[in-house]
Amino acid sequence: MSYQFDWGVLWRYREALAEGFALTLALSLLGLLGALALGIVAGTAGAGGRRAARGFAGTYVEVARNVPLLVHMYFWYLGLTALRLPAFWCGVLALAIYSGAYVAEIVRAGIQSVPQGQTAAALASGLSPRQALVHVIYPQALRIVAPSLAGLLSQLIKDSSLASVISVGELTFAAGAIEGETFRTFEAYIGVSLLYLVTVTAISQLTLRTLSGRAVDPEMRY
């Protein structure tokens, strides 16, 4: 392989990389918020008493989970052409809906593992069903499932790289731009994957430290 590496290209294009990184973070954080919101709603519905709600939640989870994230992204970006949503929001939507399905399953399992007696006691104490849910069930459920959710942000950061295919200017897209100008594909993509690795590692370490004492799996898998 007759190729002279020029790692300096990463420094020359540091601005593009920084901008890409900022977008990666924005995508991941907004996707996280969306996934949590969707997941808590769907998970609660899935664990609830009403069959229709359970059905909807179940369908959402199965459909969203079984369709590749790439296809989610293309769906919002290409499929719903009429909407013409900005690529960034297509990315956020895709990430939120896809990850939300996983969060829903975790939340559902968490709620269902809170002992029945808790709900009964809460209602007997005069709390409305809604208050019982928010003040009694959720705290306990979330405590049970927190370890499983710990890896969510890391996973989202890695998944956000797919948004580059719908031309969101995040980190992987930035690597493509550098590659286009310089043809230095190796340096661009290796540099960027190191950046992902460092970021994901840092976040895993932070989560481990915050939730220490529990069986934490910092790399969520779904």
Binding site: E62, R65, N66, F186, Y189, S193, R221
Partner: protein, 213 residues
């Protein structure tokens, strides 16, 4: 429009299914190997396996594929076709994740079983193969099938290194025909059927073979 392009799309779907099947086999094998090594007695092997697993799990799948397709051939002097690189890359990737499930599966077998096996005169290796693994595998079925379903979805990433699997084929057709909505819905449906079907198989297997408790 869909009829005219059906052979091309069907070929893409076949590639997706074939890739998934190969990787399920190879990835499970690799995962078992790595998981057993991770739980084993030789410290240096344990650390090596751990390093591999952590590296892979911190790397996006796309990057793993790139590394297998571009970085490895010059080092070993043999070129891979895009398809070969994809299969190898996927196996390397999912194997690391399955390894962790294997490790937990092995750890979840009650210690008493191991002791009973040893007390009966079985060597540690025999205990592993005859006592622990069978039980561990049965406990791992849900986790394993979870990974398998993930894998079917991941095959779409192979389009990035030029493998014409289902997503790549669909996008190519869309570039010419420009009917994204029906094409994408069909695409989502195909993956849904494949993935959901696989998870149903997993659930059936789990009901039949799971160990209570």
């Amino acid at each position: 429009m869909v009829w005219r392009n059906l052979p091309y799309l069907a070929e893409g779907f076949a590639v997706t299914l074939e890739t998934s099947a190969l990787v399920i086999l190879g990835g499970t094998a690799l995962g078992l190997l790595l998981g057993i090594v991770r739980s084993g007695r030789v410290a240096s092997l344990r650390h090596a396996a751990w390093l591999y697993i952590e590296l892979i799990r911190g790397t996006p799948l796309l990057v793993v594929l790139f590394i297998v397709y571009f970085a490895v051939p010059p080092l070993i002097g043999h070129r891979f076709t895009a398809y070969e690189a994809a299969v190898i890359g996927f196996i390397a990737f999912i194997g690391a994740y399955i390894a962790e499930d294997v490790r937990s599966g092995l750890a979840s077998v009650p210690r008493g079983q191991v002791e009973a096996g040893l007390a009966n005169g079985l060597s540690p290796r025999q205990v592993l193969w005859l006592v622990v693994l069978p039980q561990a595998v049965r406990r791992m079925i849900p986790a394993l099938f979870n990974q398998f379903v993930r894998l079917v979805k991941f095959t779409s990433v192979a389009s990035a290194i030029g493998v014409t699997e289902l997503t790549g084929a669909t996008l190519a057709v869309n570039a010419r025909e420009f009917k994204p909505l029906p094409l994408l819905i069909a695409l989502a449906l195909a993956y849904f059927v494949a993935g959901y079907g696989l998870s149903l198989v997993g659930r059936w297997l789990n009901r039949r073979y799971a160990i209570a408790g």
